[in-house]
């Protein structure tokens, strides 16, 4: 089952390496990982998407907590949460395709941020499933390039992760 784990850690050099090294050393899977500072410059926040059986997820959470620089760990999937990811897709848009491509972008509430005679670059945000769906909806052969940020997650309402 897919789990989204949010981690608050000290904003110190090497903290990211430690988390990645932990996952690779113990053979845990990382589907995506994104990290940046929070409104408190001394803290970074990381969102890790991982899959595995419950016992493994439990071990992952415990091992993350064991890292000296990790302040708090929350498995967002255990409660109500929302997630967002950003994707930039460069698609072939030649002649008659251009209208259809623009329509697709509108349906998915994406924005065209770059235009050339032969291509559009579309910016799309949403949960991972929505981004996957867009790539499926447009013609596979039309995709020239994609880059995704990975999922960021946040608990709903009073579910607040802070120090």
């Amino acid at each position: 089952m897919k789990h989204i784990i949010a981690v608050l850690l000290e904003n110190e050099p090497g903290a990211l390496s430690r988390v990645v090294a932990l996952f690779s050393a113990r053979g845990y899977n990382i589907e995506s990982l994104t990290v940046a500072t929070t409104e408190d410059p001394s803290l970074s926040r990381m969102t890790i998407v991982t899959t595995g059986p419950d016992e493994v997820i439990e071990q992952i959470t415990k091992h993350l907590n064991r890292l000296i620089e990790v302040v708090k760990v929350v498995d967002l999937t255990e409660g109500s949460f929302t997630e967002r990811e950003l994707m930039l897709v460069k698609v072939r848009a030649v002649g008659k395709e251009r209208d259809e491509m623009k329509r697709m972008a509108d349906i998915f509430r994406g924005r065209v941020i770059d235009v050339t005679e032969k291509s559009y670059t579309i910016e799309l945000t949403g949960d991972a499933a929505k981004l996957d769906a867009f790539l499926v909806a447009i013609e596979r052969g039309a995709i020239l390039e994609t880059v995704r940020t990975g999922t960021s997650g946040i608990g709903r309402g009073e579910r607040i992760l802070r120090v």
Binding site: L9, R18, A21, Q59, K62, N65, R66, I68, V71
Partner: protein
């Protein structure tokens, strides 16, 4: 260039330019170590740490022991930590100094030993440029330390050292590396050592959860076939006294893992011996047939539980007390996890039990002890002694007999000799049995003994080893001479890498690939070349006199090359993949 004695003395006592102002990084480091109560460091100099060595030279409160290989520096500090309970400190230079230390650091990490290892590094402006003797110390040691620091600014150094010691000795202990670039060790800063340190990201739990403890008490009282399984955590947590009180109060059988030996006295009738791959028959059978298991400071290692599916077949309830949440329910699902400091949790358990006044069912317990008595009748450690060839078990038994009334520390290397030492030497006190269990590092025995002798100069320190293991850090015989470290090395020389040979005999059709030790040196001449006493023992009748003589030479390092039966095997044995009740019990069973 010739220097007169007077010139040398002047140079030695010359003050650095900064002496009347702020201290430099090296001086700050030394002051921090003194503030932490450090009195011994093991190390080996090199370019990146020359300023630090200069600062050490100019003081005389910390004794530095010069080893002959950085691996031994870390092992010696590790052994010191295991025997004394203090944080062990080692100092090595950059590049090859660090890579040589890696084995020692990983050894300490796997057994959760509190240590601080100071490593030199190339100057900050040279980092990342493939400088001379540069290596990515933080990157290389990351998976084998509890934490590590690269100090880029000398003003951070004191706080880093404070944090390092705090991290090393609290919670689940472990080694911490402090990487200090050469220019940082020279730059100056005002010195202030913090009296305490608070880390919002690191707050190990000490007190166990009250509700969990209450539930555990109920289970303990309701048990009909209870068993207490304890490991290295009891020793690291200094909880041996609480454990003894609890086990005696309840009247339960108790076992130790390899790392926990001595936490409960071996001579006590409630002790069933070590359990696990080479544990006693009764210890392993009780593990599989108990209905309530109290696990204290032990981590259900694969050497202990055997085949996990087989282990889980029994429907025992498990109470697990451990300071590290990640050790709980890692390999084996437990029913009542209690995270906390072992000493404090056991104290709380005892308090509640005494309050309750209820006691476990005496009849059920008597029946359980009767069953255990039947298992004990197998006499699984029996061996056929001989008047013609020396049996390794006999050597350990004799050693035990001759040293048991003195404060004795037994260090070990890795292999068959280690198992025999664990099985046949009866440890009554914690911190007397010093061996590498988690990583199983050959070569630790002699450096461990060196480190311990410094912590306990009046105690007897014996290194039980094999002719394979002793050659891995052999050069430390030189260190022993320099520092007059009067340890006794008892090498059980069977001319084989015994444990490997045993596995090859049992599982690889007797194809002894590279497990025969050819071209062995004359160990007696070797010991004498290093300035020590060497003795070769070939006949069983000579074993006791030789050991007596070695122990009598209280101010000499003595090396005993004991030629033992080459084909003796360690029994019982739970082969890899087997369940713990599927033990092999001696050659008859082959």
């Amino acid at each position: 260039m010739d220097m007169s004695a007077a010139e040398i003395k002047r140079a030695a006592t010359a003050q650095p330019q900064t002496s009347n102002q702020e201290p430099n990084g090296s001086e700050i480091l030394v002051r921090c170590l003194l503030a932490e109560g450090v009195r011994h460091i093991w190390g080996y100099p090199g370019g990146a740490v020359l300023y630090i060595y200069d600062a050490l030279y100019k003081q005389d409160r910390i004794e530095h022991v010069l080893v002959r290989h950085e691996q031994a520096a870390v092992h010696a500090a590790d052994g010191y930590a295991r025997a004394s309970g203090d944080v062990g400190v080692a100092l090595v230079t950059s590049g090859p100094g660090v890579t040589n230390a890696v084995t020692g650091i990983a050894t300490a990490y796997m057994d959760s030993i509190p240590m601080v290892i100071i490593t030199g590094q190339v100057p900050t402006h040279a980092i990342g440029l493939d400088a001379f003797q540069e290596c990515d110390t933080v990157g290389i040691t990351r998976p084998i330390v509890k934490h590590n620091f690269l100090v880029k600014d000398v003003r951070d150094l004191a706080l880093v050292v404070k944090k390092a010691f705090h991290i090393a000795r609290t919670g689940r202990p472990g080694p911490v590396v402090i990487d200090i670039p050469k220019d940082v060790s020279l730059k100056t800063a005002p010195f202030h050592y913090p009296s305490s340190v608070e880390m919002r990201s690191y707050n190990p739990v000490r007190k166990g959860h009250g509700g969990q403890i209450r539930k555990a008490v109920q289970l303990l009282l309701a048990a009909r076939r209870p068993y207490v399984y304890t490991g290295g955590g009891v020793i690291l947590g200094n909880a041996s006294a609480e454990l003894r009180e609890l086990v005696r109060l309840l009247g339960f059988p108790c076992t130790n893992t390899l790392m926990g030996l001595g936490a409960f006295p071996a001579s006590d009738p409630q002790f069933l011996g070590m359990l696990g791959m080479h544990g006693t028959y009764e210890a392993n059978m009780s593990m599989q047939h108990c209905d309530l298991l109290l696990a204290v400071g032990a981590r259900f290692d694969d050497r202990v539980i055997g085949n996990p599916k087989h282990f889980a077949q029994n429907e025992r309830k498990i109470v697990h007390v451990d300071i590290d949440p990640s050790s709980i329910s890692k390999r084996v699902k437990v029913d009542i996890p209690i995270v906390g400091d072992v000493k404090e949790v056991l104290q709380e358990l005892l308090a509640q039990l005494k309050e309750q006044q209820a006691r476990p069912d005496a009849d059920a317990l008597a029946t359980w002890w009767k069953q255990i008595g039947e298992w004990r009748k197998r006499d699984c450690l029996a061996y056929r002694n001989s008047a013609d060839v020396i049996k390794p078990q006999y050597v350990i038994e004799t050693l035990y007999r001759l040293t048991k009334d003195r404060e004795t520390y037994v260090t070990s290397d890795v292999g068959q000799h280690q198992m025999w030492a664990a099985q046949f030497y009866k440890f009554e006190e914690p911190r007397r049995w010093i061996n590498s269990g988690g990583l199983g590092t050959m070569g630790v025995g002699l450096p461990y003994a060196m480190g311990i002798k410094l912590a306990k100069p009046h105690a007897e320190v014996v290194c039980v080893t094999g002719e394979g293991s002793i050659q891995m850090c052999l050069q430390e015989l030189s260190t022993c001479l320099q520092y007059k470290t009067a340890v006794k090395v008892v090498s059980l020389n069977n001319r084989y890498l015994g444990m490997v040979r045993q596995w090859q005999q049992l599982d690889y059709g007797g194809r002894y690939a590279h497990s025969y030790m050819d071209a062995l040196p004359d160990f007696v001449k070797l010991a004498e070349a290093y300035g020590h006493v060497g003795m070769m023992v070939e006949k069983p009748a000579d074993v006791e006199p030789a050991l007596r003589e070695a122990l009598r030479l209280s101010d000499r390092t003595v090396f005993l090359d004991v030629r033992t039966d080459p084909l003796e095997n360690v029994w019982p044995m739970v082969k890899a993949g087997q369940g713990i009740t599927e033990m092999l019990l001696g050659s008859e069973e082959l």
